[in-house]
Amino acid sequence: MIAPPPVPHTDIAIVGAGFAGIGLAVRLQRSGRTDFTVFERASSVGGTWRDNTYPGVACDIPAHLYSLSFATNPEWSHVFAAGHEIRDYLERVTDEVRGCVRLNTPVLDMTWDEHRGLWMLTTPRGSHTARVLVLACGRLADPYIPVIDGLAGFTGEMFHSARWDHDVDLVGKRVAVVGSGASAVQLVPRVAELAEQVTVFQRSAPYVVPRADREYTDAERGLFAKDPQEIDRLRSQLFWAAEEGFAERAGDPTRTEAARERALTHLAASVADPRLRELLTPDYEVGCKRILISNDYYPAFERYGVNLVPSPIAAVDGGAAVGANGITHEVDVIVFATGFLAAEQPYAAHVRGRDETLAEHWAGGMRAYASTSVAGFPQMFVLDGPNAGLGHNSAVHMIESQIEFVMTALAAGRVLEVSPAAEKTWTERLDAAAEGTVWTAGGCESWYVDPRNGRLTLLWPGFAHAFRTALADATVLFSPAAGPDEAARVGDRAD
């Protein structure tokens, strides 16, 4: 009998190689830690920016802000960088830690071994143990396709916007685009340039405001390269300007009205046909869903061959897509720009803590202390998870706030676990803050809200700078002086 090979051990296991996983890995490495491993199910890093290659994909927060503060990039070509630039950037950032990244390695199961005080990770390429588990699996990583009658029998080609099939030539085709959210707004104008006919199925009209994009000049890029502080200055300016956007969504009617005006003026200036304009006018409060930016989405509908169907796709019948009004549209290709599994993260079913899976723990909606630590899941952190998203500012800033929380907690060097009381207090405070806001009461159906219970679980209902302060304060829990009841106390005090 040959003894089985020993299970390899890593001090810190990071699951996922997007902005969050790679960002944390670089921070760990630079702080002198080398014993960490990043597990990524796909064959390359980049997360969102590896998966989304649809025509027109780009960030809608300025790229200089939508990047890591500790790995800035003087080379951004435009204010809003194209998706491939962001992907290339993340590949370059990864170079610093590439030796610690395991590609093609989905983590299928993560189980806390109470007896040994370790996490057990199962992958198709073998098992691992780890002292600390970091879930950096993303929030918009698993495409969602609605259940549609007859879809399986569709005779044409179909794919999701985050799994774009570049082998399908759209030139001269009749294309249905299902959805009118952030991805659709970017891809519809590009598809309209190629296809013979585009039919957009719109469940609800988005608010769209002008996109102030421009190319950076050679002089600007040269200055960014020679003087990195210039990037820091720009980032600071962009950050605080973006923070003002929160006022439109919370509490300041003058600003809300101004935002609505900006969008409706943009619509009026872009679309002459009054009937079309009416169909493109949102029927909910501005800010309830992400406010989108585009200069070519509205004009696309004035092109010959571009149709707007003001309903979800109700059924598919052979080669036809059928709207809720019963009208059929013959199509060759269906593109699903229908978003992602957000409220119920697929990874949660595969994480087993002390007494239950994370999916069970989150049956009433995602929750965590400081958006990052979950009761009953010792030595575990979740990045970009519960209430860590944002509509008005950079997700990377939020992720970095969490990375700093993790770094501080790790430095404390003790068993890191929060009490149920701490998690509860934190969650109740957030639920109270979300009550009556535009996200829960704005009259829209958005992915920020868990449809099972109406809780706002994917969005932080505040300023990005307040998230950073709240998380910095929350690390008190991990200070050596903190007693067993500290968690509850911290939860009570934070505001």
């Binding site: 200055r233 720009l234 600071s236 300016q237 605080w240 300007a241 923070e243 003002e244 929160f246 006022a247 919370a250 509490g251 300041d252 003058t254 600003r255 300023f463 700078h465 307040a466 302060t469």
Partner: protein, 196 residues
């Protein structure tokens, strides 16, 4: 819940059109026109911007408050400032001299308030005893960051932080000012620079 009293600058109440409603979500806020003396007590956090900062400093020297925030203020009207106020009736001139190099914002200026510059009282800085946050602006061509630093030097219990804006800090970076005010209200004695 803190009670904020805010004294605006040349734009009048509009100077605080972002900060005031956002603060009012969790605190009580009253705005006082620069021409009227503010009603304050020892629970008040008194915030003054530009010429309002001078008046706030005068008030805090005579009537103790819980905390004082002086944004782009000055210790006394300099010849430079008086000259500027004479020319700032010209909208384009005011706009370009009030914002920093990277800003596209348009600050408010009410011409009748410009005339106050020459006749402002001079605050007795040594008499200000409360925790004070002085906010200067790197590209302030109007009052200058140096004047803010003199306020910092003259007020014993003061802290200093500098924003990368022109004199129109509230038009250029209202959210950053808000974050400083929120942090100050929570802990008036904490150094904002260390905290960042």
């Amino acid at each position: 819940m803190t009670e904020f009293v805010m004294l605006p600058g040349f734009g009048g109440a509009g100077d605080f059109d972002f900060v005031a409603p956002m603060l009012a979500r969790e605190h009580t806020v009253s705005l006082v026109e620069a021409t009227a003396p503010p009603a304050t007590d020892t629970d008040t956090i008194l915030v003054g911007y530009s010429l309002g900062a001078v008046l706030a400093a005068v008030q805090a020297a005579a009537h103790p408050v819980r905390g004082l925030v002086l944004i782009c203020g000055w210790t006394q009207s300099t010849p430079r400032l008086v000259d500027w106020s004479i020319h700032a009736g010209d909208e384009a001139f005011a706009r370009h001299t009030m914002v920093g190099p990277a800003s596209d914002r348009t600050p408010l200026v009410r011409p009748e308030l410009l005339a106050l510059v020459g006749s402002l009282p001079v605050p007795e800085l040594g008499a200000i005893a409360c925790p004070t946050l002085v906010i200067g602006a790197t590209y302030d061509l109007v009052a200058t960051a140096h004047q803010s630093r003199l306020l910092y030097g003259g007020i014993a219990g003061s802290r200093y932080v500098e924003l990368a804006t022109g004199h129109a800090a509230l038009a250029e970076r209202p959210a950053e000012v808000l974050s400083l005010l929120t942090a100050f209200a929570a802990q008036p004695s904490v150094d904002p620079v260390a905290q960042r």
